[in-house]
């Protein structure tokens, strides 16, 4: 039941804060914060409670029994980590919006909470239909956030974001339905229960086609080359908190979906496609990095760097081994924290200097030393500086990949060089040098510093002592693919 509340509390919260905005602009902010804290506490308690086997908690209630659809919530370590990430970054998104968002405060926070609720639902739903329901549900509020509180071209960006993600989602729906009916034909019952469908394991062309439905939907959301083009546009137009949620949380739903559904449900097809997926990952690493290097807009630079980092996630997932998957989890969390922080920093720069253009920046360190030092820290983190979280993730992914596909690992590692290039260039052009115009602006205040401090601490802890996170994730990752299916699988089609 507690899982239902974790998903439900933000939804109810959204209904409460919308009208609350009429009373006082402060009310929605405070209520949203309180709601997310309560939600976070509920989730944190689950890890103490333990639970049976790999599952920390589970819940089932019939929803549409005539179609075999149920409210099937389950949480294991993987879900837990991502839900906590969602809640913490949700809290930060509310704090960041504190002075950013001035109009329609109630509706804004309602949408924020609803999109968070959708993401949380995605992470804990283990009925394929329920998963899809939440998958779609998180989009509309996000579209509102972009379309109402975004920058100049917000409408175009919102529609583009929606079309890409929704369109690919429909392919996934068809694939889900095909899988469900195949399961029924094989003598099973009509059900959308993930645990039951895991036994279906379609093979041959059907397996490949159905798997591609899932794969494409997640590839778009991840995003990976060549279906990434919505991301830079959307980030450029989204408000800061929107960018944070988009980059730190929503992109993770794709990585999660690949790990939880696209791979385990279609093991055979996933092995067939693994080389392609890994090379797509490598291409994304290079493509994202090279385009990031060429950007004049700081926010676009970070957006393209996300594509590059998500390339590592793609490579790691299709390496099919425990080490790489551990790395994927770590990298997703670390990327969520570091990129979220970077978007906050860029948002702060834009708000103070009214530009994100690297040509007009420069010398920011002189005027905004606190902002610049945090900015530099997180750029270094995202670059993969040893001792910080992203490094651990990337290292584990490369280590795991090298065992099965050395060539892919080598090329992916080379991808770290352009990453260092665009990172250092960004630091140098934005923060160092001479200011082109004299600026009189205020630096980070106490609120901003504490947010950034918390995020920085998170990155350092993950970087120096990732073991707790690995321990929480390990049983879940071992549980993703049922051992029976793995042993039945011929050793073929591995990447590289």
């Amino acid at each position: 039941m507690i899982l239902v509340w974790i998903a439900l509390i933000p939804i109810i919260g959204g209904i409460v804060v919308w009208p609350a905005g009429r009373l006082h602009p402060l009310a929605p902010r405070v209520i949203s914060l309180a709601i997310l804290f309560v939600d976070l506490l509920l989730t944190l308690k689950l890890i103490e409670a333990g639970g049976s086997g790999a599952w920390l908690a589970s819940f089932y209630a019939p929803w549409v029994p005539s179609l075999g659809i149920g409210f099937r919530f389950n949480m294991d370590g993987l879900s837990w980590i991502l839900v906590v990430l969602t809640q913490i970054l949700g809290i930060i998104a509310v704090i960041v919006s504190w002075s950013d968002i001035k109009d329609r405060v109630g509706f804004y926070h309602a949408n924020l909470l609803w999109s968070l609720a959708g993401s949380i639902g995605v992470f804990i739903a283990l009925d394929l239909f329920l998963f899809f329901f939440f998958w779609e549900l998180m989009l509309v509020p996000m579209v509102f956030v972009i379309a109402i509180w975004g920058n100049e071209n917000r409408r175009r960006a919102a529609i583009k974001f929606f079309l890409f993600t929704q369109g690919s989602g429909l392919l996934m729906l068809v694939a889900i339905l095909a899988l469900v009916f195949l399961h029924q034909q094989q003598g099973g019952i009509l059900t959308f229960n993930d645990a039951a469908l895991l036994a279906t394991q379609p093979t041959g062309p059907f397996g490949i086609l159905a798997m591609l439905g899932f794969f494409l939907a997640f590839l778009v959301k991840l995003p990976a080359f060549p279906v990434h083009s919505w991301l830079p546009d959307t980030h450029t137009e989204a408000p800061t908190a929107g960018s944070v949620i988009l980059a730190s949380i929503m992109l993770k739903t794709a990585g999660y979906g690949l790990l939880r559904f696209a791979v385990p449900l279609f093991l055979d097809a996933a092995h067939h496609i693994a080389p392609l997926a890994m090379w797509l990952g490598v291409i994304s690493i290079f493509y994202g990095a090279i385009l990031a290097y060429g950007q004049a807009d700081l926010k676009k630079l970070i957006a393209y760097s996300s594509i590059s980092h998500m390339g590592f996630v793609l490579v790691g997932i299709y390496a099919f081994n425990a080490i790489a998957w551990q790395g994927v989890v770590i990298l997703m969390v670390a990327h969520g924290v570091s990129t979220g922080a970077l978007f906050i920093a860029v948002g702060a720069i834009q708000k103070r200097l009214h530009t994100r253009d690297l040509a007009q920046l420069g010398g920011v360190w002189t005027d905004l030393p606190r902002l610049s030092s945090f900015g530099t820290f997180f750029v270094l983190a995202s670059m993969g500086l040893p001792g910080l979280g992203n490094f651990v993730g990337e290292f584990l992914i490369l280590r795991g990949t090298y065992a099965v596909a050395p060539l892919v690992a080598v090329f992916a590692s080379i991808g770290l060089i352009p990453a260092a290039l665009y990172s250092l260039i960004a630091i140098q052009r934005a923060f160092h040098g001479e200011a082109t115009v004299p600026r009189r602006v205020s630096d980070f205040g106490a609120r901003d510093v504490s947010v950034m401090m918390a995020l920085a601490l998170g990155i350092i802890v993950i970087g120096v002592y990732p073991q707790p996170l690995l321990n929480i994730g390990a049983p879940a990752l071992g549980n993703l693919v049922p051992a029976k299916q793995v042993s039945a699988l011929p050793q073929k089609g591995r990447g590289g």
Binding site: W63, F133, V143, V174, F181
Partner: protein, 474 residues
Amino acid sequence: MIGLVSLIQPVAPLFVMTLATGSALAAIAMRRSFLITVLICLVGLIGALLALPWMAHSAAVAPMFADGALSVGFAGVILLTSILILVIAASYWRDATAEPREEYPLLLLVGTIGAVTVALGINFIPLFIGLETLTLAMIGMIAYPRWRPEALEAALKYLVLSGMSSALLLLGLGLVDLATGHLSLAAVQHASGTAMLLLPALGLIIVGAGFKLSVVPFHIWVPDVYAGAPAPSAAFLATIPKIAVIAVVARLLFADATIPPTLGLAMTIAGVASMLVGNLLALLQQNLKRILGYSSIAQLGYVLVALLAAGALGRSALLFFVAMYSVTVIGAFGVLSALSVAESDRDQDRVGDIRGLFWRHPLIAGILTLALLSLAGIPPALGFMAKMYVMAAGVHSHLRVLIATMVVSSVIGLFYYLRVIIAMTQAPDSADAHAEGRLSLPGNAAIGLIGAVILGFGIMPQPLLSLLKAVFHS
């Protein structure tokens, strides 16, 4: 006395509504009162709805009418839809003091009689008479605000085109009679393929049905007529005749295990074309009624998918989808009528008119958003479940081309639904301010109810599924 009851019982709903029509006419003749007329019509519709179960249990069978669960269920959906439209129409017309408006609810009632006749008829004679009653009433409803040139134009367009389609349909019926000597649907079904005249007859009948369903290529009139008609009439036009014709087609297709291949091919082509054309042409429209008109063409394409996906799953999918479609379309047109004033020279039906609606009337805007999300098939609205159901039926029956088209056209469709939703959140154009109607309590209640249904059954579809099952399979 017993004889009279057994005579009335098999056609009880029609009898009740005819009685109400006479009473309403008499009331108007004695004293013009909008409220009384609306109440009489409302009582007639509700009475007809209540008479449905009584009719279904009738021992006697009327010669030309069906009493199967499917027909009765569809008649129920038609009556419920009519009741909702009547409430919305009553609140739309309440301010028009200078012009007589009592005939509008009367026309709505007469149209509903026609639609129920079609839904229940198993012989071509009641089918044709019902269809014509429906059409003539609708022409009156479209042209009712005669101070609007667009309304007159739309009515004329509809009159000419529907007259033509009726003539073709009649010719088809004549050929059927010539070929088989029967005018009952069953006779045609069992004679299929034997007589040479039946093929052209079937073709002509398809043209007539296609016009009422407004599937491509019989859709040309839709956007113009919807845009010109006052909002409640457009709601009527978009739902009632379509449900009635779907009822007949469903009865024909579901009776047999297999669909004849030629008919299947024709329906597939019409379905694919409707989905694509409807969604593509809606992209560039600036008028909400036109957008909804094109959208309804696309939605009928989805209905064809459900019809072609025979079997239990297709049947449930069809019923669920039709229920969703009527509720949603009335919700969307209902919001437009709530915002519009009958007296003015046009409805509040441009995308520019609803700019900023989210900040003026958050609840109304929320309901319109829900309705549009429902048409687009996005959770948590009811349409998501319905579309998923249709897709499931299609995937189950291996309708690959139709499902592929459905995915592609849905993505196209998202664009214009989203454009309207986003427009509601934008700042209003001050230059193009237009008289917005005052919202009335009954109208608001009706729209609110529809919003609650779309959201409630969207999240919890099982009660609706069970209800449909109970009604249609009893």
